[in-house]
């Protein structure tokens, strides 16, 4: 089993994700360079957080045109596991692997803080080790995390149980205050219909060690590892 972490110019959580996989979860992990056309036979591709190409245009929009993304798309269509974290989620939306788009946070400020998410769907390769309704404490750090989709799309993703995580309070209640960035349906994590491509705004790699204030992010990596072994 091998993980691949893609490096785009401007990625800045590439090393963090690599560190978590390699040092915390002791997994074989390799970097994948955006200019190449080689997925190096990995079993799970992770698009890390950051500001790919500076995000001067729409977040993630240029990275979606990187040479490697052709392979990532094909890999996803073949059923390969793809996880997009933060900027990676934005890129998955731009790639069309996930529906919808990201707007600026409702209050128009960058938000870096620990928040809570509630597991809505625990039947995915990324969440099957969690209980349905489990609350996870994980950090966010983004400017464009306000998920948006047309009413038809929202209906569709709800019908297909594509919402994997929702922003909630510590007790699991959904409310305006807990939905810090103003996302439609409090969506924090979204999976594709086929169930192999997950995008999430919170950073599980920043919540995989007690020292960093939470270990709740581990469950996502542990789910993937269990699924692949």
């Amino acid at each position: 089993m091998k993980f691949g972490v893609v490096i785009f110019p401007g990625s800045n959580c590439d090393y963090d994700t690599y560190y978590a996989l390699k040092n915390v979860f002791k997994q074989k992990t390799t970097f994948l360079w955006h200019k190449e056309h080689d997925l190096k036979n990995v079993d799970c591709v992770i698009l890390p957080g950051g500001f790919s190409y500076g995000d001067y245009l729409r977040s993630g929009s240029i990275a979606a045109f990187s040479p490697l993304m052709q392979e990532v798309k094909e890999f996803a269509l073949r059923g390969g596991l793809v996880l997009g974290i933060c900027n990676g989620f934005q890129i998955l939306l731009e790639l069309g692997l996930l529906p919808g788009a990201m707007l600026r946070n409702e209050k128009l400020k960058f938000l870096c803080q620990f928040i809570h998410i509630r597991v809505e769907n625990n039947k995915t390769p990324f969440s099957h080790q969690a209980k349905k309704g489990q609350i996870l404490k994980v950090p966010i750090a983004h400017f464009d995390g306000n998920y948006f989709a047309s009413p038809e799309t929202i209906l569709e993703i709800k019908k297909n149980s594509q919402i994997v995580f929702r922003y909630s309070d510590a007790k699991g209640q959904l409310n305006e205050e807990a939905n810090v960035n103003g996302s439609a349906e409090s969506i924090a994590g979204l999976i594709n219909k086929a169930g192999n491509v997950l995008g999430m705004m919170p950073h599980p790699e920043r919540a995989s060690e007690v020292l960093l204030g939470s270990e709740d992010g581990r469950i996502i990596f542990e789910s993937i590892i269990a699924k692949l072994s």
């Binding site: 959580c13 960058f110 938000l111 750090a141 920043r206 960093l212």
Partner: protein, 735 residues
């Protein structure tokens, strides 16, 4: 022809001009004059501060690099070094807050990775005018967004810092940015131009007309027209710099370059002449080869441009291609624009002609050094006297008022905009006494803090300097870190005014005494003079950045109370000192009096004791007493407690009650301890000759303080939390 007017426009005196003529044996041309105006500016030459800075202790067994390089370097063990520095970006941030602050971050980060270190932390010390004025609010909003915009994008966490508000910063805000990186001890790079014939490469962004005269701008007072200097402020591109960081570190991992220098203030001029001067060599460059963003630039403009995100590299002769390959991988220009030469001259070609031919020694080392006149300021006589004032009727209300004063109130509104968790090292969130970053693959952590109370320095500069060092070190002691190195940013008014020079001299003396007493070296820093607008100077504002080491990160201590029923213990002695307090300012609108005095030996004893109790796991929490005094510090222990645990305590000392509650007497720390450990702690205190007083217990959901069996403060924790937490968001009208 160079005439008097041109010389003045370049901020040089006639005497300085004559010295230039004498040094180079002829009249300089306009480009050469521009070069001297930059490198002999106060900002680049330290001509007014040099003689005083000599007093600072700069050596120590862990010092790998002291002042004079891009950044200071301290050995932190296990083959690693910490590379750190603080810089000011005050003037640009006033004219154009977003870009001023953003390029400040870009500049300080280049200082760090230029030396081969990957930047892992940013902190900033900000000073604004009161937020009751809309202009100050918009400056603060712009500065915070600028820091966030650059730091978040490049992926270096902004983990802490401090913010003060005072009217003296209304026309002259301070933006001091600190960065720290980690490098392998045997892989440090310097600004060297060694090896005659080695190629000089220009890498990074293209050169434009932005930032021309930035360093000179930073070396003059501002007037009504300062807004017009807006085009002098550079525009930052954090994405480009992120690519530069990665490309430079990749190049440095191989044995293919000789030296490297960033192009910060004074751009091409500074990097070429400094690299040459450092190695006793010369450099020749051809401006026609410099990647340019605009057409028709003159040599003068190119040499003086402060376009951001550029570096100069001296490569090994046969490795140019390898260097270029790495930069091209990261989509960056890397162009050979010249070579290292013999003879110590800076030669610049443009369209086939030599347009600059100067001895680098004259540019870098022979700038005149001034021993400027100094005089005790006349304001001290009147301002240090406090007229009688009444005691408050309701201490609970006063405490709430202080908790919601901008300087004391919670700063989450600010740090939530900064990515402070990227790089997965952040062990303490912002708001603790010091920022704490684990060192990967080790038990150790680095603790970082910035500190400086300018009102203290205004009314007793020497004490202000001492306290800035002492308090920063106390912050470190509270988390369990031993200080290992200091960097300082000294923000002052116009040094040509004798009263300002006196403030400077005294503050430096205070810093030197404290650093010597604590035995910590100053490894560099920055002096920012001319913080005056329309003749009004800021308070003398030293900002101290201190780096400490925690040997075992699992033992580090945070300020919040941990559980109900613990004993709360005050380390140190209460004294009746209300001068320069936040209380006087906030309640009586008085910025007067003599600041609290400090006995450095006693201070050191308290800090050592705190460290000892932490290493023995005797305490659960520790918090330093500073602005707002004992009662604010105690309240903060509740507010910073994850469970918002209240307390019920009694204080006994016989003095004015407001002084006891809100006075800012130094050398005091509030700790909490599990009951079974209290006795051991008190015995140890006795042995170490530290005064330790048990004040009472944590618990409940109220903040309660008794004095002489009378309840003088009683507030629900929730109410205090609201006052403290919502003060700043309320000002900016968001929640």
């Amino acid at each position: 022809m160079i005439d008097k007017k041109i010389i003045e426009e370049h901020n040089l005196t006639l005497e300085e001009y004559e010295k230039i003529v004498q040094l180079i044996g002829r009249e300089p041309n306009i480009t050469e004059l521009g070069i001297f105006s930059l490198m002999w500016s106060e900002h680049c030459s330290y001509k007014s501060s040099k003689i005083h800075l000599k007093k600072l202790p700069v050596t120590g067994k862990n010092v790998v690099q002291g002042p004079g390089e891009n950044a200071g370097i301290i050995d932190i063990g296990d083959g690693l070094v910490a590379v750190f520095k603080i810089e000011s970006h005050n003037h640009p941030s006033y004219i154009e807050p977003y870009q001023g602050a953003a390029t400040g971050i870009g500049g300080i980060l280049r200082d760090i990775f230029t030396m081969g270190a990957r930047p892992i932390a940013l902190l900033d010390s900000l000073r604004f005018g009161p937020l009751s004025k809309p202009k100050n609010k918009s400056i603060m909003e712009g500065v915070v967004s600028g820091i966030a915009g650059y730091g978040n994008s490049i992926g270096v966490p902004t983990v802490g810092g401090d913010i003060y508000f005072n009217d003296c910063y209304s026309r002259n805000p301070l933006v001091n940015v600190f960065a720290l990186g980690i490098a392998e001890k045997n892989k440090i790079f310097y600004a060297k131009a060694e090896g005659i014939g080695n190629p000089v490469l220009y890498v990074g962004s293209k050169t434009g007309r932005d930032g021309i005269h930035g360093a000179t701008m930073a070396s003059a007072e501002f007037d009504q027209d300062s807004e017009k200097k807006r085009p002098n402020v550079q525009v930052g591109d954090p994405f480009k710099e992120k690519l530069l960081v990665e490309a430079c570190l990749e190049v440095m991992a191989k044995d293919i370059i000789v030296g490297i220098q960033d192009m910060g203030a004074a751009g091409l001029t500074c990097s070429t002449s400094e690299m040459a001067a450092n190695s006793g060599a010369g450099i020749e460059i051809n401006l026609d080869l410099v990647p340019q963003r605009e057409e028709g630039m003159t040599p003068y403009e190119m040499m003086l441009s402060e376009s951001q995100e550029r570096m100069l590299i001296v490569a090994k002769k046969d490795k140019v291609e390898e260097v270029q390959q790495i930069f091209s991988k990261w989509d960056l220009d890397a162009v050979t624009i010249g070579q290292v030469t013999e003879g110590g001259r800076l030669k610049v070609r443009f369209e086939g002609k030599i347009v600059v031919d100067l001895p680098v020694d004259a540019i870098i080392n022979l700038c005149p050094v001034y021993k400027r006149e100094s005089k005790i300021p006349s304001y001290l006589k009147s301002e240090t006297i406090i007229k009688p004032f009444p005691s408050p009727e309701n201490y609970s209300k006063t405490l709430l008022k202080l908790l919601s004063s901008a300087t004391i109130a919670e700063k989450e509104w600010v740090y939530r905009q900064y990515d402070h968790t990227v790089q997965v090292n952040t062990a303490f969130l912002p708001g603790a006494d010091a920022s704490l970053l684990r060192i990967k693959n080790s038990k150790k952590a680095l603790a970082l803090t910035l500190d400086g109370n300018s009102l203290y320095s205004y009314l007793d500069p020497r004490t202000g300097g001492k306290i800035a060092v002492a308090e920063a070190c106390r912050n470190l002691a509270c988390v369990g870190a031993r200080p290992v190195g200091v960097t300082n940013c000294l923000n002052f008014g116009n040094p040509e005014k004798p009263e300002i020079m006196w403030q400077f001299k005294e503050v430096v003396e205070g810093i030197a005494q404290a650093c010597s007493a604590f035995n910590i070296p100053v490894t560099g820093g920055n002096v920012s003079f001319y913080n005056d607008t329309e003749g009004i100077s800021i308070y003398p504002s030293p900002v101290l950045g201190v780096v400490g080491i925690v040997d075992d990160v699992s033992r580090a201590v945070s300020p919040g109370f941990k559980k109900a029923g613990d004993s709360v213990i005050l380390l140190g002695e209460n004294k009746e000192e209300l001068g320069c307090s936040e209380y006087l300012k906030c309640v009586f609108n008085m910025e007067k009096g003599i600041p609290p005095q400090i006995d450095l030996k006693e201070e050191k004893r308290i800090q050592e004791f705190c460290l000892e109790t932490i290493s023995m796991s005797l305490i659960e929490s520790a918090h330093d007493i500073s602005e707002g005094g004992l009662s604010i510090s105690l309240a903060e222990c509740s507010l910073l407690s994850p469970l918002k645990i209240g307390f019920s305590l009694a204080i006994q000392d016989d003095m004015r009650l407001d002084a006891l509650l809100f006075g800012e007497t130094q050398s005091r720390i509030v700790v909490s301890s599990s009951n079974q450990k209290v006795k051991k702690l008190l015995n140890l205190a006795k042995k170490r000759k530290v005064k330790a007083t048990v004040l009472g217990k944590t618990g409940g959901d109220r903040i309660i303080i008794y004095h002489s069996n009378k309840k003088i403060i009683d507030i629900p924790v929730n109410e205090a939390y609201k006052a403290w937490k919502e003060a700043i968001p309320d000002i900016f009208q968001v929640k």
